[in-house]
Amino acid sequence: MQGPLIDTLVRQGVSRRTFLKYCATLASMMALPPAAGLAMAEAMAAARRPSVIWLPFQECTGCTESITRSHSPTLEGMIFDMISLDYQETLMAAAGHQAEEALHAAMKANHGKYLLIVDGSIPLGQDGAYSCIGGRSNLEILKEAAQGAAAIIAVGTCAAYGGIPKARPNPTGAVSVSDIVKDKPIVNIPGCPPVPVVMTGVLAHYLTFGSLPDLDDKGRPRAFFGETIHDRCYRRPFYDQGKFAKTFDDKGARRGWCLFELGCKGPVTHNACATAKWNGGTSWPVESGHGCLGCSEPDFWDAGDFYKALSVPAHPPTSVVAAPVIGATAGAAAGFANRAKKNAARKARQPITVADLEK
């Protein structure tokens, strides 16, 4: 464990002024009042870095990659110096028994107080054998680690909702963290991978206020997941005007028109990509000319073709060929029956006489 954060920052040559500016930016991104920026700075500066344990389950390591590829390495590195990252398989130097020992020591020493970060889904199939670390299934590891956690942050769509392993037919029986843990506060930070600053924003909130940020009904921080991509997209005027790119290199595409027709799932996707963007604000999928995949939504892998617009069938309807044929056959049969009935009635009918007119 190291001393207050501000000492580390000074050691790394970051001025207090820069640090204050960073906190102000973070606060405004989370739509917090200006005073919060100052509060964050003071809290983080004095913070005794809490223990953070990062457990990777059935994942691709993309979330780790994303978080480390963030704004300016120095600053994000600082954020990681703000916390005591006691266990992170990709970043830590230790391996094997030493790593396991570090994990259990941290859990014991900080029982009830550490933040548990999880990425990757938890497979339930074959008693959890599909994903094991050190001979133990992810399920077992999670249950044990969750017991002593103050809160759990499920990073990435896999941890938050099951992600790609859960896609049909879900051969490993993958489930999300919140499917397993029911008695601890869980923050879902979905995305495949998630936007780096979202992650750090949640951590900063926790360090400043000692609590988790306001969450929506899917456990996502409202500050970053409260709006859809569509409602923040800079190409929205083209959608409203009806100007769509029809292929990836046509006139519309080159003019930066809306990508709805090329399958953009922006309207049904909640995330911060359109505002926070990626790679230090360089760009994001739509700006680069590819429609949003909807990667921060549950079950987005099973939500139909990525390149089929929301208003068209997810899968081509198979009934269009068979249905009219069956209809025609049934109809023809009904027609025959009708005509037979009508003709029989006409044949059987006796012409009426004046006498029949009496009641």
Partner: protein, 430 residues
């Protein structure tokens, strides 16, 4: 189901065809047909909505010819038609529907509602749920020869008198004549001036014509009661006479339903096309007018409006002739807003004028108000028409409202102002 209801179902099953099915499936309950029907517009009673008048037919269609209807019937969820219902519907189908056909002109989805009512009457007729007045008129027509029970000797008498009055002998049973002339009992009894007018005009034009002693009656109560069987019996008399006398044309008189019966329903009733042509008297008169034969010696001066009988104009297709003819003879003809095929019914067609219950007569008097308004808005004292039934019904209406309007027949008016020809000179007989 009683035997009678069985027959109703059987009859209706036989008349339902693709048009009727299409019409029922298209109806969206917009109620616009009611706005075109004088029985609704003048009473405000929605039960007179035309499509409602055929509701029992719709149920038969649904229960017999649609899969869902048949399934409903199978599981007992559908209501078969019953006697009480047919009793209730008698007023709707006969008293308050004159087969005028305005509804068919306005339905936005294109339903030919008057066609449906005509077909539905087949089922009503077979069950006996028909008004007494029309039943007896039909009985008389089938058994005696005409709806008023006129027999040939009486008719021959009238013809003789007309011959005397005009100086033109009216030929009877003459083989090889060009025109077989039909008459309606109403004309023979109430408006025999029409016969005299015809005689004069035919003589002037040099047309060869005849009346048949066994087929003088033009009206067809079978059509009105809605029985194709009886209508066939009645119309066959005319067809037989026409073929026997080898005429080229059969002339339909100034009677709306007569024209509909012989011109449009006739061949379909007997099951084969006619070997002669059917001509409405006004069509013939217009032809003569165009040939220059119908010269007027003077014109009728009083301002007048025209009443277009439904069965001749809107339902019969004689659209242009009436106005052309009235303009020939009248100086002050005032076209009304709802003219020609848009005209409003006199309220007595379709057999309605034969119903003499208190309620029916009160209803006819009520709906006559639309004609009353037409006359008053035009500010005229004369109305001309060309259907004997319209005349008698409207005379009753004018009487009821104590109006002084003169009601004239078009053919008579033409004959009155026709340039005379010397009957003793060799007329242009072919």
């Amino acid at each position: 189901m009683s035997a009678s209801l069985d027959k109703v179902a059987q009859t209706l099953k036989g008349v339902i065809d693709a048009p009727i099915a299409s019409y029922f499936e298209s109806c969206v309950h917009c109620g616009l047909c009611a706005e075109a029907c004088l029985f609704y517009t003048e009473t405000g009673d929605p039960k007179y909505t035309p499509i409602h008048k055929v509701e029992p037919l719709r149920r038969v269609y649904e229960q017999e010819f649609t899969l869902l209807g048949r399934l409903k019937k199978l599981v007992g969820l559908s209501k078969p038609i019953n006697d009480d219902e047919l009793d209730q519907w008698q007023e709707l189908v006969y008293d308050s529907c004159t087969l005028c056909g305005r509804c068919s002109l306005v339905c936005p989805v294109g339903n030919d509602i008057v066609y449906m009512i005509r077909r539905f009457r087949e089922g009503m007729a077979v069950s006996g749920h028909v008004p007494d007045g029309i039943r007896s008129a039909t009985k008389r027509t089938v058994e005696i020869g005409g709806p008023m029970g006129l027999k040939w000797p009486a008719v021959a008498n009238v013809l003789r008198k007309a011959g005397e009055a005009t100086g033109v002998t009216i030929p009877v049973d003459q083989e090889g004549a060009d025109y077989l002339v039909l008459l309606s009992s109403m004309e023979i009894v109430n408006y025999s001036e029409y016969i005299e007018a015809l005689a004069r005009i035919f003589n002037k034009a040099g047309i060869s014509f005849t009346v048949a002693s066994d087929a003088f009656e033009a009206t067809n109560a079978g059509i009105q009661i809605g029985s194709s069987d009886l209508a066939k019996v009645i119309v066959s008399r005319i067809v037989d006479a026409a073929e026997r006398l080898k005429v080229k044309y059969v002339l339909s008189p100034e009677c709306g339903h007569a024209y509909m019966a012989i011109r449009w329903e006739g061949p379909n009733l007997i099951g084969r096309p006619f070997t002669f042509e059917v001509v409405h008297v006004l069509e013939l008169l217009d032809e003569l007018r165009q040939k220059g034969v119908l010269k007027m010696k003077d014109t009728f001066k009083d301002p007048l409006i025209l009443h277009d009988p439904c069965q001749i104009v809107r339902r019969g297709g004689v659209l242009q002739a009436p106005e052309a003819l009235i303009r020939q003879v009248a100086e002050n003809y005032i076209p009304i807003a709802d003219q020609q095929k848009w005209n409003w019914c006199c309220g007595g067609g379709g057999g309605a004028s034969a119903i003499h219950t208190e309620e029916a007569e009160a209803l006819r008097a009520r709906v006559f108000q639309i004609k009353k308004r037409q006359i008053e808005e035009a500010g005229v004292g004369t109305m001309v028409t060309f259907c004997a039934n319209c005349r008698i019904v409207m005379e009753e209406g004018l009487d009821h409202y104590e109006m002084n309007t003169k009601l004239l027949g078009l053919t008579e008016l033409l004959a009155e102002h026709l340039e005379p020809v010397d009957v003793n000179s060799a007329s242009a007989l072919p």
